[in-house]
Symmetry: C2
Subunit: 238 residues, 2 copies
Protein backbone atom coordinates (compact mmCIF):
# COMPACT_ATOMS: atom_id res chain seq x y z
CA UNK A 1 0.00 0.00 0.00
CA UNK A 2 1.42 3.33 -1.00
CA UNK A 3 -0.08 5.25 1.88
CA UNK A 4 1.08 8.54 0.40
CA UNK A 5 1.15 8.93 -3.34
CA UNK A 6 1.17 12.64 -2.78
CA UNK A 7 3.98 13.99 -0.69
CA UNK A 8 3.56 16.41 2.13
CA UNK A 9 4.89 19.20 -0.09
CA UNK A 10 2.48 18.40 -2.87
CA UNK A 11 -0.42 18.63 -0.47
CA UNK A 12 0.82 21.95 0.84
CA UNK A 13 1.20 23.22 -2.69
CA UNK A 14 -2.28 22.10 -3.64
CA UNK A 15 -3.68 23.79 -0.55
CA UNK A 16 -1.89 27.02 -1.41
CA UNK A 17 -3.22 26.92 -4.97
CA UNK A 18 -6.72 26.36 -3.64
CA UNK A 19 -6.28 29.28 -1.27
CA UNK A 20 -5.08 31.50 -4.09
CA UNK A 21 -8.13 30.73 -6.17
CA UNK A 22 -10.41 31.17 -3.19
CA UNK A 23 -8.87 34.54 -2.50
CA UNK A 24 -9.19 35.50 -6.15
CA UNK A 25 -12.89 34.61 -6.28
CA UNK A 26 -13.47 36.41 -3.02
CA UNK A 27 -11.81 39.56 -4.27
CA UNK A 28 -13.76 39.38 -7.52
CA UNK A 29 -17.01 39.13 -5.62
CA UNK A 30 -15.96 41.95 -3.33
CA UNK A 31 -14.78 44.35 -6.00
CA UNK A 32 -17.42 43.42 -8.55
CA UNK A 33 -14.75 43.18 -11.19
CA UNK A 34 -13.09 40.39 -13.06
CA UNK A 35 -9.70 42.03 -12.71
CA UNK A 36 -7.88 40.58 -9.74
CA UNK A 37 -4.65 42.13 -8.59
CA UNK A 38 -1.82 39.89 -7.53
CA UNK A 39 -1.09 42.48 -4.90
CA UNK A 40 -4.50 42.05 -3.33
CA UNK A 41 -4.45 38.27 -3.46
CA UNK A 42 -1.08 38.25 -1.75
CA UNK A 43 -2.30 40.72 0.88
CA UNK A 44 -5.33 38.57 1.67
CA UNK A 45 -3.10 35.55 2.01
CA UNK A 46 -0.50 37.34 4.09
CA UNK A 47 2.14 36.95 1.44
CA UNK A 48 4.13 39.17 -0.82
CA UNK A 49 3.03 39.46 -4.47
CA UNK A 50 6.07 37.83 -6.09
CA UNK A 51 5.44 34.65 -4.11
CA UNK A 52 2.40 33.96 -6.32
CA UNK A 53 4.66 33.53 -9.30
CA UNK A 54 5.77 30.23 -7.77
CA UNK A 55 2.28 28.95 -8.55
CA UNK A 56 1.21 30.79 -11.68
CA UNK A 57 3.34 32.09 -14.51
CA UNK A 58 1.31 35.28 -14.76
CA UNK A 59 -2.18 36.68 -14.38
CA UNK A 60 -3.43 34.96 -17.51
CA UNK A 61 -2.25 31.63 -16.20
CA UNK A 62 -4.23 32.09 -13.01
CA UNK A 63 -7.20 33.28 -15.03
CA UNK A 64 -7.19 30.11 -17.08
CA UNK A 65 -7.29 28.00 -13.97
CA UNK A 66 -10.13 30.08 -12.56
CA UNK A 67 -12.08 29.68 -15.79
CA UNK A 68 -11.70 25.90 -15.70
CA UNK A 69 -12.88 25.87 -12.11
CA UNK A 70 -15.92 27.96 -12.97
CA UNK A 71 -16.97 25.57 -15.70
CA UNK A 72 -16.65 22.70 -13.25
CA UNK A 73 -18.67 24.53 -10.62
CA UNK A 74 -21.41 25.50 -13.04
CA UNK A 75 -21.62 22.04 -14.54
CA UNK A 76 -21.76 20.46 -11.11
CA UNK A 77 -24.44 22.86 -9.92
CA UNK A 78 -26.61 22.17 -12.94
CA UNK A 79 -26.11 18.42 -12.74
CA UNK A 80 -26.85 18.31 -9.04
CA UNK A 81 -30.04 20.33 -9.32
CA UNK A 82 -31.17 18.28 -12.29
CA UNK A 83 -30.49 14.94 -10.66
CA UNK A 84 -32.35 15.93 -7.51
CA UNK A 85 -35.60 15.71 -9.45
CA UNK A 86 -37.44 12.54 -10.38
CA UNK A 87 -35.93 11.27 -13.66
CA UNK A 88 -39.41 10.76 -15.09
CA UNK A 89 -40.35 14.37 -14.52
CA UNK A 90 -38.50 15.81 -17.47
CA UNK A 91 -40.15 19.20 -17.24
CA UNK A 92 -39.17 19.38 -13.60
CA UNK A 93 -35.62 18.37 -14.38
CA UNK A 94 -35.36 21.05 -17.05
CA UNK A 95 -36.74 23.66 -14.69
CA UNK A 96 -34.33 22.61 -11.96
CA UNK A 97 -31.34 22.69 -14.29
CA UNK A 98 -32.32 26.05 -15.74
CA UNK A 99 -32.84 27.49 -12.27
CA UNK A 100 -29.43 26.27 -11.18
CA UNK A 101 -27.88 27.90 -14.23
CA UNK A 102 -29.63 31.14 -13.40
CA UNK A 103 -28.84 31.09 -9.70
CA UNK A 104 -25.20 30.26 -10.27
CA UNK A 105 -24.89 33.26 -12.53
CA UNK A 106 -26.71 35.81 -10.46
CA UNK A 107 -25.14 34.92 -7.14
CA UNK A 108 -21.70 35.56 -8.57
CA UNK A 109 -21.93 37.50 -11.82
CA UNK A 110 -18.15 37.80 -11.92
CA UNK A 111 -17.65 34.06 -12.21
CA UNK A 112 -20.31 33.94 -14.90
CA UNK A 113 -18.62 36.78 -16.76
CA UNK A 114 -15.32 34.95 -16.44
CA UNK A 115 -16.53 32.05 -18.55
CA UNK A 116 -19.22 33.67 -20.69
CA UNK A 117 -18.01 37.21 -21.07
CA UNK A 118 -15.81 38.70 -23.72
CA UNK A 119 -12.82 36.37 -23.82
CA UNK A 120 -9.58 37.96 -22.73
CA UNK A 121 -7.22 37.92 -25.71
CA UNK A 122 -4.34 36.93 -23.50
CA UNK A 123 -5.87 33.61 -22.68
CA UNK A 124 -6.68 31.54 -25.73
CA UNK A 125 -8.29 28.28 -24.66
CA UNK A 126 -5.97 25.59 -25.99
CA UNK A 127 -7.72 23.16 -28.28
CA UNK A 128 -8.64 20.14 -26.18
CA UNK A 129 -7.07 21.84 -23.19
CA UNK A 130 -8.42 21.53 -19.67
CA UNK A 131 -10.58 24.62 -20.06
CA UNK A 132 -12.18 23.44 -23.27
CA UNK A 133 -12.81 20.03 -21.76
CA UNK A 134 -14.38 21.59 -18.68
CA UNK A 135 -16.61 23.72 -20.87
CA UNK A 136 -17.80 20.72 -22.82
CA UNK A 137 -18.54 18.77 -19.65
CA UNK A 138 -20.47 21.67 -18.15
CA UNK A 139 -22.62 22.26 -21.21
CA UNK A 140 -23.26 18.57 -21.69
CA UNK A 141 -25.17 18.65 -18.41
CA UNK A 142 -27.93 20.45 -20.26
CA UNK A 143 -27.53 18.24 -23.29
CA UNK A 144 -27.89 15.06 -21.27
CA UNK A 145 -31.34 16.19 -20.33
CA UNK A 146 -32.40 15.96 -23.94
CA UNK A 147 -30.67 12.64 -24.37
CA UNK A 148 -32.53 11.18 -21.42
CA UNK A 149 -35.80 12.54 -22.70
CA UNK A 150 -35.20 11.13 -26.16
CA UNK A 151 -34.17 7.75 -24.80
CA UNK A 152 -37.30 7.62 -22.67
CA UNK A 153 -39.32 8.49 -25.76
CA UNK A 154 -40.73 11.54 -24.00
CA UNK A 155 -39.13 14.15 -26.19
CA UNK A 156 -41.73 15.71 -28.41
CA UNK A 157 -40.98 17.45 -31.69
CA UNK A 158 -39.90 21.04 -31.18
CA UNK A 159 -41.71 24.13 -32.35
CA UNK A 160 -39.35 24.55 -35.26
CA UNK A 161 -38.91 21.30 -37.13
CA UNK A 162 -37.13 22.60 -40.21
CA UNK A 163 -33.47 21.76 -39.97
CA UNK A 164 -30.81 22.71 -42.47
CA UNK A 165 -28.37 20.08 -43.65
CA UNK A 166 -25.55 22.11 -42.14
CA UNK A 167 -27.01 21.71 -38.67
CA UNK A 168 -27.73 18.04 -39.12
CA UNK A 169 -24.17 17.53 -40.34
CA UNK A 170 -22.82 19.50 -37.44
CA UNK A 171 -24.79 17.37 -35.01
CA UNK A 172 -23.56 14.05 -36.35
CA UNK A 173 -20.05 15.45 -36.76
CA UNK A 174 -19.51 17.13 -33.41
CA UNK A 175 -21.88 15.00 -31.36
CA UNK A 176 -21.96 11.53 -32.87
CA UNK A 177 -23.17 10.18 -29.55
CA UNK A 178 -26.57 11.70 -30.33
CA UNK A 179 -26.91 9.83 -33.62
CA UNK A 180 -30.03 7.78 -33.68
CA UNK A 181 -31.13 9.06 -30.29
CA UNK A 182 -31.66 12.79 -30.53
CA UNK A 183 -33.03 13.86 -33.92
CA UNK A 184 -31.49 16.88 -35.65
CA UNK A 185 -34.49 19.09 -35.01
CA UNK A 186 -34.16 18.39 -31.29
CA UNK A 187 -30.43 19.08 -31.47
CA UNK A 188 -31.28 22.44 -32.94
CA UNK A 189 -33.95 22.97 -30.31
CA UNK A 190 -31.45 22.09 -27.59
CA UNK A 191 -29.05 24.79 -28.71
CA UNK A 192 -31.93 27.25 -28.97
CA UNK A 193 -33.03 26.34 -25.47
CA UNK A 194 -29.53 26.92 -24.13
CA UNK A 195 -29.24 30.24 -25.97
CA UNK A 196 -32.61 31.42 -24.69
CA UNK A 197 -31.82 30.44 -21.11
CA UNK A 198 -28.42 32.00 -21.42
CA UNK A 199 -29.89 35.26 -22.64
CA UNK A 200 -32.17 35.71 -19.67
CA UNK A 201 -29.36 34.74 -17.35
CA UNK A 202 -26.96 37.26 -18.86
CA UNK A 203 -29.44 40.10 -18.79
CA UNK A 204 -30.36 39.43 -15.18
CA UNK A 205 -26.86 38.78 -13.88
CA UNK A 206 -25.56 42.03 -15.33
CA UNK A 207 -28.44 44.08 -14.01
CA UNK A 208 -30.30 44.75 -17.23
CA UNK A 209 -33.54 43.44 -15.76
CA UNK A 210 -33.32 45.26 -12.45
CA UNK A 211 -36.08 47.63 -13.52
CA UNK A 212 -38.51 44.71 -13.66
CA UNK A 213 -38.44 44.12 -9.94
CA UNK A 214 -37.68 40.96 -8.00
CA UNK A 215 -41.08 39.32 -7.99
CA UNK A 216 -41.88 40.01 -11.62
CA UNK A 217 -38.41 38.88 -12.63
CA UNK A 218 -38.90 35.54 -10.92
CA UNK A 219 -42.25 35.14 -12.65
CA UNK A 220 -40.70 36.15 -15.94
CA UNK A 221 -38.04 33.51 -15.51
CA UNK A 222 -40.61 30.81 -14.84
CA UNK A 223 -42.54 31.86 -17.92
CA UNK A 224 -39.35 31.97 -19.95
CA UNK A 225 -38.33 28.47 -18.93
CA UNK A 226 -41.84 27.22 -19.65
CA UNK A 227 -41.76 28.84 -23.08
CA UNK A 228 -38.39 27.29 -23.84
CA UNK A 229 -39.58 23.86 -22.71
CA UNK A 230 -42.62 24.03 -24.97
CA UNK A 231 -40.58 25.29 -27.89
CA UNK A 232 -37.98 22.57 -27.40
CA UNK A 233 -40.46 19.75 -27.01
CA UNK A 234 -39.76 19.06 -23.37
CA UNK A 235 -42.95 17.67 -21.88
CA UNK A 236 -44.28 19.86 -19.10
CA UNK A 237 -46.86 18.53 -16.65
CA UNK A 238 -49.94 19.76 -18.52
Amino acid sequence: MTDVVVTRRERARAATIAEIKEAAFGLMAESGTIDVRFTDIARVMGMTPPALYRYYADRDDLLGDLISDCYEHLGAAVAQARDAVDPDDLGGRWYAAATAYREWARTQPQRFALIFGLPVPGYVAPEDGPTTEAAKRAMSQLGDLFVSAAQAGSLRPPLVTEVSDAIADCASDKHPELDGIVPPESFQAMLQAWASLHGFTCLEAYGHLDWVGDEARDALFRGHVAMIAQAAGIPVPN
Copy 2:
Protein backbone atom coordinates in the same frame (compact mmCIF):
# COMPACT_ATOMS: atom_id res chain seq x y z
CA MET B 1 -30.20 84.39 -38.34
CA THR B 2 -27.58 83.28 -35.90
CA ASP B 3 -25.20 81.87 -38.43
CA VAL B 4 -22.99 80.32 -35.76
CA VAL B 5 -24.47 79.13 -32.51
CA VAL B 6 -21.41 76.99 -31.98
CA THR B 7 -18.12 78.74 -31.91
CA ARG B 8 -15.05 77.63 -33.78
CA ARG B 9 -13.57 76.29 -30.56
CA GLU B 10 -16.64 74.27 -29.74
CA ARG B 11 -16.52 72.61 -33.12
CA ALA B 12 -12.86 71.83 -32.70
CA ARG B 13 -13.55 70.39 -29.29
CA ALA B 14 -16.41 68.28 -30.56
CA ALA B 15 -14.20 67.01 -33.36
CA THR B 16 -11.46 66.08 -30.91
CA ILE B 17 -13.93 64.24 -28.70
CA ALA B 18 -15.22 62.36 -31.71
CA GLU B 19 -11.66 61.49 -32.67
CA ILE B 20 -10.92 60.24 -29.17
CA LYS B 21 -13.93 57.92 -29.22
CA GLU B 22 -13.09 56.76 -32.71
CA ALA B 23 -9.56 55.97 -31.61
CA ALA B 24 -10.86 54.19 -28.53
CA PHE B 25 -13.23 51.99 -30.54
CA GLY B 26 -10.50 51.29 -33.05
CA LEU B 27 -8.07 50.22 -30.37
CA MET B 28 -10.73 48.06 -28.74
CA ALA B 29 -11.38 46.30 -32.03
CA GLU B 30 -7.67 45.92 -32.64
CA SER B 31 -6.74 44.60 -29.22
CA GLY B 32 -9.90 42.57 -28.71
CA THR B 33 -10.25 44.01 -25.26
CA ILE B 34 -12.50 46.50 -23.59
CA ASP B 35 -9.61 48.05 -21.72
CA VAL B 36 -8.34 51.04 -23.61
CA ARG B 37 -5.17 52.77 -22.53
CA PHE B 38 -5.03 56.53 -22.51
CA THR B 39 -1.46 56.13 -23.63
CA ASP B 40 -2.52 54.30 -26.78
CA ILE B 41 -5.34 56.68 -27.61
CA ALA B 42 -2.97 59.59 -27.30
CA ARG B 43 -0.37 57.85 -29.44
CA VAL B 44 -2.89 57.17 -32.19
CA MET B 45 -3.96 60.79 -32.11
CA GLY B 46 -0.43 62.14 -32.02
CA MET B 47 -0.88 63.64 -28.59
CA THR B 48 0.49 63.11 -25.14
CA PRO B 49 -1.64 61.17 -22.63
CA PRO B 50 -2.32 64.00 -20.19
CA ALA B 51 -3.94 66.03 -22.97
CA LEU B 52 -6.91 63.66 -22.89
CA TYR B 53 -7.77 64.82 -19.41
CA ARG B 54 -8.91 68.09 -20.98
CA TYR B 55 -11.81 66.11 -22.44
CA TYR B 56 -12.52 63.38 -19.94
CA ALA B 57 -12.08 63.40 -16.19
CA ASP B 58 -10.75 59.85 -16.17
CA ARG B 59 -11.07 56.52 -17.90
CA ASP B 60 -14.49 55.83 -16.43
CA ASP B 61 -15.76 59.12 -17.77
CA LEU B 62 -14.66 58.19 -21.26
CA LEU B 63 -16.14 54.74 -20.80
CA GLY B 64 -19.52 56.19 -19.94
CA ASP B 65 -19.53 58.24 -23.10
CA LEU B 66 -18.54 55.21 -25.16
CA ILE B 67 -21.36 53.19 -23.61
CA SER B 68 -23.92 55.84 -24.48
CA ASP B 69 -22.63 55.93 -28.03
CA CYS B 70 -22.88 52.17 -28.33
CA TYR B 71 -26.50 52.18 -27.24
CA GLU B 72 -27.22 54.83 -29.83
CA HIS B 73 -25.41 52.90 -32.53
CA LEU B 74 -27.16 49.64 -31.71
CA GLY B 75 -30.57 51.24 -31.48
CA ALA B 76 -30.04 53.03 -34.78
CA ALA B 77 -28.85 49.87 -36.49
CA VAL B 78 -31.86 47.91 -35.30
CA ALA B 79 -34.30 50.67 -36.18
CA GLN B 80 -32.82 51.16 -39.63
CA ALA B 81 -32.88 47.47 -40.48
CA ARG B 82 -36.41 47.13 -39.17
CA ASP B 83 -37.74 50.16 -41.03
CA ALA B 84 -36.22 48.98 -44.29
CA VAL B 85 -38.82 46.22 -44.42
CA ASP B 86 -42.45 46.59 -45.43
CA PRO B 87 -44.39 47.63 -42.31
CA ASP B 88 -47.05 45.02 -43.04
CA ASP B 89 -44.50 42.22 -43.05
CA LEU B 90 -44.11 41.91 -39.30
CA GLY B 91 -42.23 38.65 -39.45
CA GLY B 92 -39.81 40.22 -41.90
CA ARG B 93 -39.38 43.26 -39.69
CA TRP B 94 -38.64 41.09 -36.69
CA TYR B 95 -36.13 39.05 -38.65
CA ALA B 96 -34.45 42.20 -39.93
CA ALA B 97 -34.26 43.75 -36.48
CA ALA B 98 -32.94 40.55 -34.91
CA THR B 99 -30.35 40.17 -37.64
CA ALA B 100 -29.19 43.75 -37.13
CA TYR B 101 -28.84 43.07 -33.40
CA ARG B 102 -26.81 39.97 -34.14
CA GLU B 103 -24.61 41.56 -36.77
CA TRP B 104 -23.91 44.61 -34.68
CA ALA B 105 -22.72 42.38 -31.88
CA ARG B 106 -20.60 40.00 -33.84
CA THR B 107 -18.87 42.57 -36.00
CA GLN B 108 -17.58 44.32 -32.89
CA PRO B 109 -17.92 42.11 -29.84
CA GLN B 110 -16.08 44.67 -27.75
CA ARG B 111 -18.76 47.30 -28.23
CA PHE B 112 -21.39 44.70 -27.42
CA ALA B 113 -19.50 43.71 -24.29
CA LEU B 114 -19.24 47.35 -23.36
CA ILE B 115 -22.98 47.72 -23.01
CA PHE B 116 -24.07 44.18 -22.19
CA GLY B 117 -21.09 42.77 -20.35
CA LEU B 118 -20.36 42.77 -16.65
CA PRO B 119 -20.83 46.41 -15.66
CA VAL B 120 -17.67 48.09 -14.47
CA PRO B 121 -18.16 49.07 -10.84
CA GLY B 122 -16.46 52.39 -11.45
CA TYR B 123 -19.19 53.53 -13.75
CA VAL B 124 -22.64 53.44 -12.21
CA ALA B 125 -25.21 54.55 -14.75
CA PRO B 126 -26.86 57.57 -13.18
CA GLU B 127 -30.60 57.17 -12.83
CA ASP B 128 -32.18 58.94 -15.81
CA GLY B 129 -28.69 59.83 -17.00
CA PRO B 130 -27.72 59.95 -20.65
CA THR B 131 -26.59 56.34 -20.64
CA THR B 132 -29.82 55.04 -19.13
CA GLU B 133 -31.83 57.09 -21.59
CA ALA B 134 -29.81 55.80 -24.50
CA ALA B 135 -30.33 52.24 -23.28
CA LYS B 136 -34.08 52.72 -23.09
CA ARG B 137 -34.21 54.23 -26.55
CA ALA B 138 -32.16 51.39 -28.01
CA MET B 139 -34.23 48.63 -26.46
CA SER B 140 -37.49 50.33 -27.36
CA GLN B 141 -36.59 49.73 -30.99
CA LEU B 142 -37.43 46.09 -30.42
CA GLY B 143 -40.45 46.95 -28.32
CA ASP B 144 -41.90 49.21 -30.99
CA LEU B 145 -42.13 46.19 -33.21
CA PHE B 146 -44.60 44.62 -30.85
CA VAL B 147 -46.50 47.85 -30.47
CA SER B 148 -46.91 48.16 -34.22
CA ALA B 149 -47.99 44.57 -34.49
CA ALA B 150 -50.52 44.99 -31.71
CA GLN B 151 -51.88 48.20 -33.18
CA ALA B 152 -52.26 46.53 -36.55
CA GLY B 153 -54.10 43.71 -34.84
CA SER B 154 -51.58 41.23 -36.20
CA LEU B 155 -50.07 40.21 -32.90
CA ARG B 156 -51.19 36.73 -31.99
CA PRO B 157 -51.27 35.35 -28.49
CA PRO B 158 -47.86 34.05 -27.42
CA LEU B 159 -46.98 30.49 -26.58
CA VAL B 160 -47.14 31.21 -22.86
CA THR B 161 -50.28 33.07 -21.95
CA GLU B 162 -50.10 32.77 -18.21
CA VAL B 163 -48.99 36.05 -16.74
CA SER B 164 -48.36 36.78 -13.09
CA ASP B 165 -49.83 39.90 -11.56
CA ALA B 166 -46.31 41.11 -10.84
CA ILE B 167 -45.49 41.19 -14.53
CA ALA B 168 -48.76 42.83 -15.47
CA ASP B 169 -48.17 45.46 -12.80
CA CYS B 170 -44.63 45.96 -13.98
CA ALA B 171 -45.85 46.48 -17.53
CA SER B 172 -48.42 49.11 -16.65
CA ASP B 173 -46.03 50.73 -14.19
CA LYS B 174 -42.85 50.93 -16.20
CA HIS B 175 -44.43 51.04 -19.64
CA PRO B 176 -47.81 52.76 -19.36
CA GLU B 177 -47.64 53.58 -23.05
CA LEU B 178 -48.40 49.92 -23.75
CA ASP B 179 -51.60 49.98 -21.72
CA GLY B 180 -54.56 48.93 -23.78
CA ILE B 181 -52.37 48.22 -26.78
CA VAL B 182 -49.97 45.43 -25.88
CA PRO B 183 -51.53 42.89 -23.53
CA PRO B 184 -49.50 41.68 -20.54
CA GLU B 185 -48.86 38.26 -22.03
CA SER B 186 -47.34 39.90 -25.08
CA PHE B 187 -45.28 42.18 -22.87
CA GLN B 188 -43.94 39.08 -21.21
CA ALA B 189 -43.38 37.46 -24.60
CA MET B 190 -41.53 40.56 -25.77
CA LEU B 191 -39.05 40.34 -22.93
CA GLN B 192 -38.63 36.64 -23.55
CA ALA B 193 -38.01 37.31 -27.22
CA TRP B 194 -35.36 39.87 -26.38
CA ALA B 195 -33.72 37.55 -23.88
CA SER B 196 -33.68 34.68 -26.33
CA LEU B 197 -32.25 36.78 -29.11
CA HIS B 198 -29.72 38.25 -26.72
CA GLY B 199 -28.59 34.82 -25.62
CA PHE B 200 -27.76 33.62 -29.10
CA THR B 201 -26.05 36.91 -29.82
CA CYS B 202 -23.90 36.70 -26.70
CA LEU B 203 -22.87 33.13 -27.28
CA GLU B 204 -21.93 33.80 -30.89
CA ALA B 205 -20.21 37.12 -30.33
CA TYR B 206 -17.98 35.69 -27.65
CA GLY B 207 -17.05 32.63 -29.66
CA HIS B 208 -19.03 30.01 -27.78
CA LEU B 209 -20.68 28.80 -30.98
CA ASP B 210 -17.56 28.70 -33.11
CA TRP B 211 -17.58 24.92 -33.02
CA VAL B 212 -20.88 24.90 -34.90
CA GLY B 213 -19.38 26.27 -38.09
CA ASP B 214 -20.39 29.32 -40.11
CA GLU B 215 -23.09 27.83 -42.27
CA ALA B 216 -24.80 25.86 -39.51
CA ARG B 217 -24.61 28.88 -37.22
CA ASP B 218 -26.41 31.03 -39.75
CA ALA B 219 -29.07 28.37 -40.14
CA LEU B 220 -29.32 28.02 -36.39
CA PHE B 221 -29.87 31.74 -36.07
CA ARG B 222 -32.66 31.70 -38.64
CA GLY B 223 -34.29 28.82 -36.81
CA HIS B 224 -33.85 30.58 -33.50
CA VAL B 225 -35.45 33.77 -34.73
CA ALA B 226 -38.30 31.77 -36.25
CA MET B 227 -38.81 29.93 -32.98
CA ILE B 228 -38.87 33.19 -31.05
CA ALA B 229 -41.34 34.73 -33.47
CA GLN B 230 -43.71 31.80 -33.12
CA ALA B 231 -43.37 31.77 -29.35
CA ALA B 232 -43.97 35.50 -29.14
CA GLY B 233 -46.95 35.54 -31.45
CA ILE B 234 -45.29 37.43 -34.26
CA PRO B 235 -46.98 36.33 -37.47
CA VAL B 236 -44.50 34.72 -39.85
CA PRO B 237 -45.35 34.27 -43.54
CA ASN B 238 -46.57 30.69 -43.13
